[in-house]
Protein backbone atom coordinates (compact mmCIF):
# COMPACT_ATOMS: atom_id res chain seq x y z
CA UNK A 1 0.00 0.00 0.00
CA UNK A 2 2.76 2.45 0.98
CA UNK A 3 4.77 1.50 -2.07
CA UNK A 4 1.76 2.22 -4.32
CA UNK A 5 1.24 5.57 -2.59
CA UNK A 6 4.87 6.52 -3.04
CA UNK A 7 4.74 5.45 -6.67
CA UNK A 8 1.63 7.57 -7.26
CA UNK A 9 3.34 10.55 -5.56
CA UNK A 10 6.27 10.27 -7.95
CA UNK A 11 4.13 9.82 -11.07
CA UNK A 12 1.94 12.81 -10.08
CA UNK A 13 5.05 14.94 -9.68
CA UNK A 14 6.37 13.79 -13.05
CA UNK A 15 3.13 14.88 -14.76
CA UNK A 16 3.13 18.27 -13.03
CA UNK A 17 6.78 18.75 -13.88
CA UNK A 18 6.17 17.95 -17.55
CA UNK A 19 3.24 20.42 -17.62
CA UNK A 20 5.49 23.12 -16.17
CA UNK A 21 8.12 22.43 -18.81
CA UNK A 22 5.47 22.60 -21.56
CA UNK A 23 4.39 25.93 -20.10
CA UNK A 24 7.92 27.32 -20.31
CA UNK A 25 8.12 26.08 -23.90
CA UNK A 26 5.09 28.29 -24.53
CA UNK A 27 7.01 31.30 -23.19
CA UNK A 28 9.85 30.57 -25.62
CA UNK A 29 7.47 29.95 -28.55
CA UNK A 30 5.50 33.13 -27.79
CA UNK A 31 8.62 35.27 -28.03
CA UNK A 32 9.58 33.59 -31.30
CA UNK A 33 6.18 34.54 -32.74
CA UNK A 34 6.52 38.06 -31.31
CA UNK A 35 9.87 38.54 -33.05
CA UNK A 36 8.39 37.28 -36.32
CA UNK A 37 5.41 39.61 -35.93
CA UNK A 38 7.68 42.66 -35.82
CA UNK A 39 9.80 41.44 -38.74
CA UNK A 40 6.63 41.01 -40.84
CA UNK A 41 5.33 44.38 -39.69
CA UNK A 42 8.54 46.20 -40.63
CA UNK A 43 8.70 44.56 -44.08
CA UNK A 44 5.03 44.04 -45.07
CA UNK A 45 2.93 46.04 -42.58
CA UNK A 46 -0.07 44.83 -40.58
CA UNK A 47 -2.47 44.36 -43.49
CA UNK A 48 -1.20 41.01 -44.72
CA UNK A 49 -2.06 37.36 -44.13
CA UNK A 50 1.34 36.59 -42.61
CA UNK A 51 0.86 39.19 -39.90
CA UNK A 52 -2.65 37.95 -39.04
CA UNK A 53 -1.50 34.34 -39.01
CA UNK A 54 1.46 35.12 -36.72
CA UNK A 55 -0.74 37.14 -34.37
CA UNK A 56 -3.26 34.26 -34.32
CA UNK A 57 -0.42 31.84 -33.47
CA UNK A 58 0.66 34.11 -30.64
CA UNK A 59 -2.92 34.17 -29.29
CA UNK A 60 -3.11 30.36 -29.55
CA UNK A 61 0.12 30.00 -27.58
CA UNK A 62 -1.29 32.39 -24.96
CA UNK A 63 -4.48 30.28 -24.67
CA UNK A 64 -2.47 27.07 -24.43
CA UNK A 65 -0.32 28.62 -21.68
CA UNK A 66 -3.47 29.64 -19.78
CA UNK A 67 -4.84 26.09 -20.01
CA UNK A 68 -1.55 24.68 -18.81
CA UNK A 69 -1.45 27.17 -15.96
CA UNK A 70 -4.91 26.04 -14.81
CA UNK A 71 -3.85 22.38 -14.96
CA UNK A 72 -0.64 23.10 -13.08
CA UNK A 73 -2.48 25.07 -10.38
CA UNK A 74 -5.05 22.27 -9.98
CA UNK A 75 -2.28 19.69 -9.60
CA UNK A 76 -0.20 21.85 -7.28
CA UNK A 77 -3.11 22.62 -4.99
CA UNK A 78 -4.22 19.00 -5.22
CA UNK A 79 -1.13 18.29 -3.13
CA UNK A 80 1.67 17.50 -5.55
CA UNK A 81 4.10 19.67 -3.64
CA UNK A 82 4.57 20.68 -0.05
CA UNK A 83 2.76 24.00 0.61
CA UNK A 84 5.75 26.31 0.84
CA UNK A 85 7.12 25.13 -2.50
CA UNK A 86 3.65 24.96 -4.03
CA UNK A 87 3.10 28.69 -3.49
CA UNK A 88 6.50 29.55 -5.00
CA UNK A 89 5.95 27.46 -8.12
CA UNK A 90 2.39 28.79 -8.59
CA UNK A 91 3.66 32.38 -8.33
CA UNK A 92 6.46 31.66 -10.79
CA UNK A 93 3.99 30.29 -13.36
CA UNK A 94 1.63 33.21 -12.81
CA UNK A 95 4.41 35.76 -13.42
CA UNK A 96 5.74 33.89 -16.47
CA UNK A 97 2.22 33.88 -17.94
CA UNK A 98 2.29 37.69 -17.79
CA UNK A 99 5.31 37.64 -20.13
CA UNK A 100 3.19 35.97 -22.82
CA UNK A 101 0.23 38.26 -22.13
CA UNK A 102 2.40 41.38 -22.47
CA UNK A 103 3.73 40.29 -25.85
CA UNK A 104 0.28 39.36 -27.12
CA UNK A 105 -1.05 42.77 -26.00
CA UNK A 106 1.78 44.53 -27.89
CA UNK A 107 0.91 42.46 -30.96
CA UNK A 108 -2.76 43.46 -30.75
CA UNK A 109 -1.82 47.13 -30.28
CA UNK A 110 0.45 46.86 -33.29
CA UNK A 111 -2.46 45.58 -35.37
CA UNK A 112 -4.81 48.28 -34.05
CA UNK A 113 -2.52 51.34 -34.00
CA UNK A 114 -0.14 50.47 -36.86
CA UNK A 115 2.53 53.02 -35.84
CA UNK A 116 4.86 54.53 -38.45
CA UNK A 117 8.39 53.21 -37.97
CA UNK A 118 11.09 55.19 -39.80
CA UNK A 119 13.68 52.97 -41.53
CA UNK A 120 16.61 54.38 -39.50
CA UNK A 121 14.96 52.97 -36.34
CA UNK A 122 14.48 49.42 -37.73
CA UNK A 123 17.92 48.00 -36.78
CA UNK A 124 17.83 49.27 -33.19
CA UNK A 125 14.18 48.17 -32.75
CA UNK A 126 14.96 44.62 -33.96
CA UNK A 127 18.11 44.57 -31.81
CA UNK A 128 16.04 45.58 -28.78
CA UNK A 129 13.53 42.78 -29.45
CA UNK A 130 16.45 40.35 -29.91
CA UNK A 131 18.00 41.31 -26.54
CA UNK A 132 14.60 41.11 -24.84
CA UNK A 133 14.43 37.59 -26.31
CA UNK A 134 17.82 36.74 -24.81
CA UNK A 135 16.62 38.03 -21.41
CA UNK A 136 13.49 35.91 -21.70
CA UNK A 137 15.37 32.77 -22.80
CA UNK A 138 17.70 33.00 -19.83
CA UNK A 139 14.78 33.61 -17.47
CA UNK A 140 13.24 30.38 -18.78
CA UNK A 141 16.57 28.59 -18.27
CA UNK A 142 16.73 30.06 -14.77
CA UNK A 143 13.20 28.81 -14.03
CA UNK A 144 13.93 25.34 -15.43
CA UNK A 145 17.12 25.17 -13.33
CA UNK A 146 15.05 26.00 -10.26
CA UNK A 147 13.15 22.78 -10.91
CA UNK A 148 16.03 20.57 -12.03
CA UNK A 149 19.34 21.86 -10.67
CA UNK A 150 19.33 24.56 -8.01
CA UNK A 151 23.09 25.03 -8.28
CA UNK A 152 22.77 26.57 -11.77
CA UNK A 153 20.10 29.14 -10.95
CA UNK A 154 22.54 31.92 -9.97
CA UNK A 155 24.52 31.49 -13.18
CA UNK A 156 21.42 32.11 -15.33
CA UNK A 157 20.18 34.82 -13.00
CA UNK A 158 23.41 36.75 -13.56
CA UNK A 159 22.97 36.47 -17.32
CA UNK A 160 19.38 37.71 -17.08
CA UNK A 161 20.60 40.78 -15.18
CA UNK A 162 23.19 41.53 -17.87
CA UNK A 163 20.77 41.04 -20.77
CA UNK A 164 18.10 43.17 -19.10
CA UNK A 165 20.63 45.96 -18.65
CA UNK A 166 21.52 45.68 -22.35
CA UNK A 167 17.82 45.74 -23.25
CA UNK A 168 17.41 48.98 -21.29
CA UNK A 169 20.41 50.55 -23.04
CA UNK A 170 19.10 49.44 -26.43
CA UNK A 171 15.66 50.89 -25.64
CA UNK A 172 17.23 54.28 -24.82
CA UNK A 173 19.38 54.11 -27.97
CA UNK A 174 16.35 53.28 -30.15
CA UNK A 175 14.34 56.13 -28.61
CA UNK A 176 17.25 58.55 -29.13
CA UNK A 177 17.41 57.63 -32.82
CA UNK A 178 13.62 57.89 -33.05
CA UNK A 179 13.46 61.40 -31.55
CA UNK A 180 16.32 62.67 -33.72
CA UNK A 181 14.45 61.57 -36.89
CA UNK A 182 12.19 63.78 -39.04
CA UNK A 183 9.03 61.94 -37.98
CA UNK A 184 6.14 63.99 -36.59
CA UNK A 185 6.11 64.31 -32.80
CA UNK A 186 2.76 62.54 -32.47
CA UNK A 187 4.20 59.50 -34.31
CA UNK A 188 7.34 59.65 -32.19
CA UNK A 189 5.30 59.63 -28.98
CA UNK A 190 3.11 56.79 -30.28
CA UNK A 191 6.15 54.67 -31.19
CA UNK A 192 7.89 55.49 -27.91
CA UNK A 193 5.10 53.62 -26.10
CA UNK A 194 5.92 50.50 -28.14
CA UNK A 195 9.59 50.73 -27.19
CA UNK A 196 8.61 51.09 -23.54
CA UNK A 197 6.20 48.15 -23.71
CA UNK A 198 8.86 45.94 -25.28
CA UNK A 199 11.29 47.04 -22.57
CA UNK A 200 8.68 46.18 -19.93
CA UNK A 201 8.88 42.52 -21.09
CA UNK A 202 12.60 42.44 -20.22
CA UNK A 203 11.92 44.17 -16.88
CA UNK A 204 9.29 41.60 -15.96
CA UNK A 205 11.63 38.78 -17.01
CA UNK A 206 14.27 40.18 -14.67
CA UNK A 207 11.74 40.45 -11.82
CA UNK A 208 10.85 36.79 -12.31
CA UNK A 209 14.52 35.84 -12.30
CA UNK A 210 15.05 37.83 -9.08
CA UNK A 211 12.20 35.94 -7.44
CA UNK A 212 13.61 32.58 -8.55
CA UNK A 213 16.93 33.58 -7.06
CA UNK A 214 15.22 34.26 -3.71
CA UNK A 215 13.26 30.97 -3.87
CA UNK A 216 16.55 29.19 -4.46
CA UNK A 217 18.37 30.89 -1.59
CA UNK A 218 15.48 29.87 0.64
CA UNK A 219 15.99 26.24 -0.35
CA UNK A 220 19.77 26.17 -0.26
CA UNK A 221 19.75 27.68 3.26
Amino acid sequence: MWFTKAQSLFSQSKTTESHIFQFFDCVTAAHHQFMQLWQIYLTQGAQCADFDQTLASLSQIESKADDLQRQIDARLYGGTLIPDLRADVALLIDQADKLINLQETIGIHLKVEQPTVPSEVHPSLLAQIQIVGDTLDHTVLCAKSFLTDLQRVQEYHQKVILFESDANSMCIKAKTILFSSDLELTHKVQLRYFFDRIDAVANLAEDISDRISIFTLKRLQ
Binding site: F10, S13, I82, P83, L147, D149, Q151, Q221
Partner: protein, 347 residues
Protein backbone atom coordinates in the same frame (compact mmCIF):
# COMPACT_ATOMS: atom_id res chain seq x y z
CA UNK B 1 -11.37 -6.56 33.25
CA UNK B 2 -12.15 -5.50 36.83
CA UNK B 3 -13.33 -1.87 37.05
CA UNK B 4 -11.08 -1.20 40.04
CA UNK B 5 -8.07 -2.07 37.91
CA UNK B 6 -9.11 0.53 35.36
CA UNK B 7 -9.59 3.10 38.15
CA UNK B 8 -6.12 2.37 39.54
CA UNK B 9 -4.60 2.52 36.08
CA UNK B 10 -6.53 5.65 35.14
CA UNK B 11 -3.81 8.04 36.27
CA UNK B 12 -1.28 6.19 34.10
CA UNK B 13 -3.73 6.19 31.23
CA UNK B 14 -4.21 9.94 31.70
CA UNK B 15 -0.43 10.36 31.69
CA UNK B 16 -0.34 8.31 28.47
CA UNK B 17 -3.04 10.47 26.95
CA UNK B 18 -1.12 13.67 27.75
CA UNK B 19 2.08 12.13 26.37
CA UNK B 20 0.27 11.29 23.13
CA UNK B 21 -1.22 14.78 22.96
CA UNK B 22 2.13 16.52 23.51
CA UNK B 23 4.92 14.29 22.27
CA UNK B 24 3.35 13.20 18.98
CA UNK B 25 4.00 16.81 17.99
CA UNK B 26 7.73 16.19 18.40
CA UNK B 27 7.52 13.41 15.85
CA UNK B 28 5.01 14.72 13.32
CA UNK B 29 4.56 18.37 14.39
CA UNK B 30 6.55 20.05 11.65
CA UNK B 31 5.24 17.80 8.90
CA UNK B 32 1.59 18.25 9.91
CA UNK B 33 1.93 21.89 10.97
CA UNK B 34 3.35 22.84 7.59
CA UNK B 35 0.79 20.56 5.88
CA UNK B 36 3.41 18.33 4.30
CA UNK B 37 1.58 15.30 5.73
CA UNK B 38 -2.12 15.05 6.55
CA UNK B 39 -2.99 14.78 10.22
CA UNK B 40 -5.02 11.59 9.62
CA UNK B 41 -2.03 9.84 8.03
CA UNK B 42 0.31 11.05 10.77
CA UNK B 43 -2.06 10.02 13.58
CA UNK B 44 -2.59 6.53 12.12
CA UNK B 45 1.13 5.85 11.65
CA UNK B 46 1.95 7.35 15.05
CA UNK B 47 -0.69 5.29 16.88
CA UNK B 48 0.28 1.96 15.33
CA UNK B 49 4.01 2.49 15.79
CA UNK B 50 3.70 3.80 19.37
CA UNK B 51 1.78 0.67 20.39
CA UNK B 52 4.27 -1.61 18.61
CA UNK B 53 7.22 0.18 20.20
CA UNK B 54 5.64 0.00 23.64
CA UNK B 55 4.73 -3.70 23.48
CA UNK B 56 7.85 -4.98 21.68
CA UNK B 57 10.64 -2.79 23.08
CA UNK B 58 9.17 -1.03 26.11
CA UNK B 59 10.63 -3.25 28.81
CA UNK B 60 14.23 -2.00 28.74
CA UNK B 61 13.69 1.54 29.95
CA UNK B 62 11.02 0.52 32.48
CA UNK B 63 13.51 -1.70 34.35
CA UNK B 64 15.64 1.36 35.13
CA UNK B 65 12.62 3.26 36.36
CA UNK B 66 11.57 0.24 38.43
CA UNK B 67 14.97 0.11 40.11
CA UNK B 68 14.59 3.75 41.14
CA UNK B 69 11.51 2.93 43.21
CA UNK B 70 9.72 -0.41 43.60
CA UNK B 71 6.12 0.68 44.11
CA UNK B 72 4.33 -2.55 44.90
CA UNK B 73 1.06 -1.04 46.17
CA UNK B 74 -1.48 -0.28 43.47
CA UNK B 75 -2.60 2.85 45.34
CA UNK B 76 0.97 4.12 45.46
CA UNK B 77 1.47 3.54 41.75
CA UNK B 78 -1.82 5.30 41.05
CA UNK B 79 -0.80 8.34 43.14
CA UNK B 80 2.68 8.56 41.65
CA UNK B 81 1.30 8.51 38.09
CA UNK B 82 -1.45 10.96 39.07
CA UNK B 83 0.95 13.50 40.56
CA UNK B 84 3.21 13.20 37.52
CA UNK B 85 0.18 13.73 35.26
CA UNK B 86 -0.93 16.74 37.32
CA UNK B 87 2.56 18.22 37.10
CA UNK B 88 2.52 17.80 33.32
CA UNK B 89 -0.95 19.35 33.17
CA UNK B 90 -0.06 22.32 35.39
CA UNK B 91 3.20 23.11 33.65
CA UNK B 92 1.50 22.91 30.27
CA UNK B 93 -1.18 25.27 31.60
CA UNK B 94 1.55 27.70 32.74
CA UNK B 95 2.97 27.57 29.24
CA UNK B 96 6.16 25.82 30.34
CA UNK B 97 7.48 22.93 28.26
CA UNK B 98 7.45 19.75 30.27
CA UNK B 99 9.04 16.31 30.16
CA UNK B 100 6.81 13.40 31.20
CA UNK B 101 9.96 11.44 32.09
CA UNK B 102 11.17 14.09 34.48
CA UNK B 103 7.73 14.34 36.06
CA UNK B 104 7.51 10.60 36.71
CA UNK B 105 11.08 10.40 38.07
CA UNK B 106 10.34 13.34 40.37
CA UNK B 107 7.13 11.63 41.52
CA UNK B 108 8.96 8.35 42.22
CA UNK B 109 11.51 10.25 44.34
CA UNK B 110 8.52 11.84 46.12
CA UNK B 111 7.20 8.34 46.85
CA UNK B 112 10.65 7.25 48.09
CA UNK B 113 10.72 10.24 50.46
CA UNK B 114 7.20 9.51 51.70
CA UNK B 115 7.82 5.79 52.19
CA UNK B 116 11.31 6.36 53.65
CA UNK B 117 12.76 4.18 50.91
CA UNK B 118 16.30 5.00 50.02
CA UNK B 119 16.69 6.32 46.48
CA UNK B 120 19.38 4.39 44.65
CA UNK B 121 21.84 7.20 43.98
CA UNK B 122 23.60 5.21 41.24
CA UNK B 123 20.34 4.79 39.33
CA UNK B 124 19.34 8.41 39.93
CA UNK B 125 22.76 9.60 38.74
CA UNK B 126 22.40 7.41 35.65
CA UNK B 127 18.98 8.93 34.90
CA UNK B 128 19.99 12.55 35.52
CA UNK B 129 23.18 12.09 33.49
CA UNK B 130 21.07 10.74 30.67
CA UNK B 131 18.88 13.84 30.79
CA UNK B 132 21.99 15.93 30.16
CA UNK B 133 23.49 13.57 27.60
CA UNK B 134 20.24 13.17 25.62
CA UNK B 135 20.03 16.72 24.18
CA UNK B 136 23.80 16.77 23.61
CA UNK B 137 23.69 13.45 21.77
CA UNK B 138 20.74 14.69 19.74
CA UNK B 139 22.66 17.91 18.99
CA UNK B 140 25.65 15.95 17.64
CA UNK B 141 23.47 13.44 15.76
CA UNK B 142 21.57 16.27 14.04
CA UNK B 143 24.78 17.99 12.91
CA UNK B 144 26.23 14.75 11.53
CA UNK B 145 22.98 13.75 9.84
CA UNK B 146 22.50 17.20 8.31
CA UNK B 147 26.04 17.25 6.92
CA UNK B 148 25.58 13.75 5.52
CA UNK B 149 22.29 14.63 3.82
CA UNK B 150 23.58 17.96 2.51
CA UNK B 151 26.53 16.07 1.03
CA UNK B 152 24.27 13.50 -0.62
CA UNK B 153 22.02 16.25 -2.05
CA UNK B 154 25.01 18.18 -3.39
CA UNK B 155 26.38 15.02 -5.01
CA UNK B 156 23.13 13.72 -6.54
CA UNK B 157 21.59 17.17 -7.19
CA UNK B 158 18.00 15.93 -7.37
CA UNK B 159 15.31 18.06 -8.99
CA UNK B 160 13.02 20.11 -6.81
CA UNK B 161 10.08 17.75 -7.28
CA UNK B 162 12.17 14.66 -6.62
CA UNK B 163 13.67 16.26 -3.51
CA UNK B 164 10.21 17.26 -2.37
CA UNK B 165 8.92 13.70 -2.76
CA UNK B 166 11.92 12.14 -1.03
CA UNK B 167 11.58 14.62 1.82
CA UNK B 168 7.92 13.77 2.23
CA UNK B 169 8.58 10.02 2.21
CA UNK B 170 11.53 10.59 4.54
CA UNK B 171 9.35 12.51 6.97
CA UNK B 172 6.80 9.68 7.00
CA UNK B 173 9.47 7.04 7.65
CA UNK B 174 11.22 9.21 10.26
CA UNK B 175 7.85 9.81 11.89
CA UNK B 176 7.11 6.07 11.97
CA UNK B 177 10.54 5.32 13.44
CA UNK B 178 10.15 8.23 15.86
CA UNK B 179 6.76 6.96 17.00
CA UNK B 180 8.16 3.46 17.56
CA UNK B 181 11.06 4.91 19.57
CA UNK B 182 8.66 7.13 21.52
CA UNK B 183 6.54 4.10 22.44
CA UNK B 184 9.59 2.00 23.31
CA UNK B 185 11.26 4.64 25.43
CA UNK B 186 8.43 6.63 26.95
CA UNK B 187 6.00 3.83 27.81
CA UNK B 188 8.16 3.43 30.91
CA UNK B 189 7.08 6.91 31.99
CA UNK B 190 3.44 6.06 31.50
CA UNK B 191 3.19 2.53 32.83
CA UNK B 192 6.58 1.85 34.45
CA UNK B 193 5.37 2.51 37.98
CA UNK B 194 2.59 -0.08 37.59
CA UNK B 195 4.93 -2.91 36.55
CA UNK B 196 5.59 -4.31 40.06
CA UNK B 197 1.84 -4.30 40.82
CA UNK B 198 0.62 -5.25 37.32
CA UNK B 199 -2.81 -6.82 37.85
CA UNK B 200 -2.71 -9.16 34.80
CA UNK B 201 -1.92 -12.80 34.17
CA UNK B 202 0.28 -14.01 31.31
CA UNK B 203 -1.74 -15.06 28.24
CA UNK B 204 -0.89 -16.97 25.09
CA UNK B 205 -2.40 -15.56 21.90
CA UNK B 206 -1.80 -17.67 18.75
CA UNK B 207 1.04 -19.40 20.56
CA UNK B 208 2.76 -16.10 21.36
CA UNK B 209 3.41 -15.31 25.02
CA UNK B 210 1.72 -12.08 26.08
CA UNK B 211 3.09 -11.17 29.49
CA UNK B 212 1.41 -9.01 32.15
CA UNK B 213 3.87 -6.22 31.40
CA UNK B 214 3.10 -6.44 27.68
CA UNK B 215 -0.62 -6.15 28.41
CA UNK B 216 0.07 -3.18 30.66
CA UNK B 217 2.15 -1.53 27.95
CA UNK B 218 -0.51 -2.26 25.34
CA UNK B 219 -3.03 -0.35 27.47
CA UNK B 220 -0.54 2.48 27.85
CA UNK B 221 0.12 2.48 24.11
CA UNK B 222 -3.60 2.70 23.42
CA UNK B 223 -3.86 5.63 25.85
CA UNK B 224 -1.04 7.39 23.99
CA UNK B 225 -2.84 6.73 20.70
CA UNK B 226 -6.04 8.22 22.08
CA UNK B 227 -4.03 11.29 23.06
CA UNK B 228 -2.61 11.48 19.54
CA UNK B 229 -6.04 11.29 17.93
CA UNK B 230 -7.96 13.53 20.31
CA UNK B 231 -5.61 16.36 21.17
CA UNK B 232 -2.30 16.33 19.31
CA UNK B 233 -3.52 18.15 16.21
CA UNK B 234 -3.72 21.55 17.89
CA UNK B 235 -0.28 21.00 19.43
CA UNK B 236 1.12 20.00 16.02
CA UNK B 237 -0.32 23.11 14.42
CA UNK B 238 1.55 25.33 16.89
CA UNK B 239 4.83 23.42 16.78
CA UNK B 240 7.55 23.96 14.22
CA UNK B 241 9.21 27.32 13.95
CA UNK B 242 9.23 28.25 17.65
CA UNK B 243 13.02 27.92 17.93
CA UNK B 244 14.35 28.14 14.37
CA UNK B 245 12.74 28.57 10.94
CA UNK B 246 12.11 25.04 9.65
CA UNK B 247 12.54 23.69 6.14
CA UNK B 248 11.40 20.16 5.17
CA UNK B 249 15.00 18.93 5.24
CA UNK B 250 15.60 20.48 8.67
CA UNK B 251 12.39 18.89 9.91
CA UNK B 252 13.53 15.48 8.66
CA UNK B 253 16.93 15.83 10.34
CA UNK B 254 15.35 16.93 13.64
CA UNK B 255 12.80 14.10 13.73
CA UNK B 256 15.37 11.50 12.67
CA UNK B 257 17.95 12.64 15.24
CA UNK B 258 15.32 12.61 17.98
CA UNK B 259 14.23 9.12 16.93
CA UNK B 260 17.77 7.73 16.82
CA UNK B 261 18.52 9.08 20.31
CA UNK B 262 15.28 7.72 21.79
CA UNK B 263 15.95 4.37 20.13
CA UNK B 264 19.51 4.24 21.54
CA UNK B 265 18.16 4.73 25.07
CA UNK B 266 15.54 2.00 24.72
CA UNK B 267 16.99 -0.77 22.53
CA UNK B 268 17.72 -3.90 24.56
CA UNK B 269 19.05 -5.59 21.41
CA UNK B 270 21.59 -2.84 20.80
CA UNK B 271 22.58 -2.85 24.45
CA UNK B 272 23.15 -6.63 24.34
CA UNK B 273 25.14 -6.32 21.11
CA UNK B 274 27.46 -3.73 22.66
CA UNK B 275 27.83 -5.81 25.82
CA UNK B 276 28.63 -8.97 23.83
CA UNK B 277 31.39 -7.11 22.00
CA UNK B 278 32.88 -5.81 25.23
CA UNK B 279 31.82 -2.23 24.49
CA UNK B 280 30.29 0.18 27.03
CA UNK B 281 26.52 -0.12 26.95
CA UNK B 282 24.03 2.70 26.61
CA UNK B 283 21.78 2.92 29.70
CA UNK B 284 18.15 2.03 28.97
CA UNK B 285 16.49 5.07 30.47
CA UNK B 286 13.27 6.88 29.58
CA UNK B 287 14.44 10.19 28.11
CA UNK B 288 12.53 13.29 27.20
CA UNK B 289 11.30 13.41 23.64
CA UNK B 290 11.18 17.22 23.87
CA UNK B 291 14.80 17.38 25.04
CA UNK B 292 15.89 15.23 22.11
CA UNK B 293 14.02 17.45 19.67
CA UNK B 294 15.37 20.67 21.15
CA UNK B 295 18.94 19.33 21.11
CA UNK B 296 18.55 18.49 17.42
CA UNK B 297 16.96 21.85 16.61
CA UNK B 298 19.80 23.76 18.31
CA UNK B 299 22.33 21.55 16.49
CA UNK B 300 20.89 22.31 13.04
CA UNK B 301 20.34 25.96 13.99
CA UNK B 302 23.95 26.46 15.02
CA UNK B 303 25.32 24.54 12.05
CA UNK B 304 23.31 26.65 9.61
CA UNK B 305 23.88 29.84 11.65
CA UNK B 306 20.15 30.39 11.92
CA UNK B 307 18.69 32.87 14.38
CA UNK B 308 17.84 30.85 17.49
CA UNK B 309 15.18 32.10 19.91
CA UNK B 310 17.38 31.94 23.02
CA UNK B 311 14.64 33.41 25.22
CA UNK B 312 12.33 30.52 24.30
CA UNK B 313 15.16 28.08 24.96
CA UNK B 314 15.71 29.68 28.39
CA UNK B 315 12.06 29.07 29.28
CA UNK B 316 12.38 25.47 28.11
CA UNK B 317 15.44 24.83 30.30
CA UNK B 318 13.71 26.49 33.27
CA UNK B 319 10.83 24.06 32.79
CA UNK B 320 13.24 21.13 32.78
CA UNK B 321 14.82 22.24 36.05
CA UNK B 322 11.54 22.73 37.90
CA UNK B 323 9.58 19.69 36.67
CA UNK B 324 11.18 16.96 38.86
CA UNK B 325 11.10 19.21 41.96
CA UNK B 326 7.42 20.13 41.53
CA UNK B 327 6.54 16.48 40.79
CA UNK B 328 8.40 15.21 43.88
CA UNK B 329 6.74 17.71 46.23
CA UNK B 330 3.34 17.21 44.58
CA UNK B 331 3.63 13.44 44.86
CA UNK B 332 4.56 13.63 48.54
CA UNK B 333 1.45 15.76 49.20
CA UNK B 334 -0.83 13.51 47.12
CA UNK B 335 0.43 10.40 48.91
CA UNK B 336 -0.25 12.05 52.26
CA UNK B 337 -3.84 12.80 51.25
CA UNK B 338 -4.51 9.42 49.62
CA UNK B 339 -3.14 7.52 52.63
CA UNK B 340 -4.60 9.63 55.44
CA UNK B 341 -7.83 10.95 53.97
CA UNK B 342 -8.90 8.17 51.58
CA UNK B 343 -7.28 5.41 53.69
CA UNK B 344 -5.73 3.70 50.68
CA UNK B 345 -2.49 1.77 51.05
CA UNK B 346 0.23 3.54 49.08
CA UNK B 347 3.31 1.69 50.37
Amino acid sequence: MDISIIIFLSSGLFLGWSLGANDAANVFGTAVGSRMIRFGTAALICSIMVILGAVISGAGASHTLGSLGQITAMGGAFTVALSAALTVYLMTKWGLPVSTGQAIVGAIIGWNLFSHTETDSAVLTKIVTTWMVCPLLSFVTAIMLYKLLAGIINQTRPGLFALDNWTRIGLLLAGAFGSYSLGANNIANVMGVFVPSAPFATKFILGVEFTAVMQLFLLGGIAISVGVYTYSKRVMMTVGDSLIPMTPLTAFVVVMSHSIVLFLFSSQGLSDLLANNGLPTIPLVPVSSSQAVIGAVIGVGMLKRLPIQWATLGRVVTGWCFTPIIAALGCWLCLYFVQNIFSVAVI
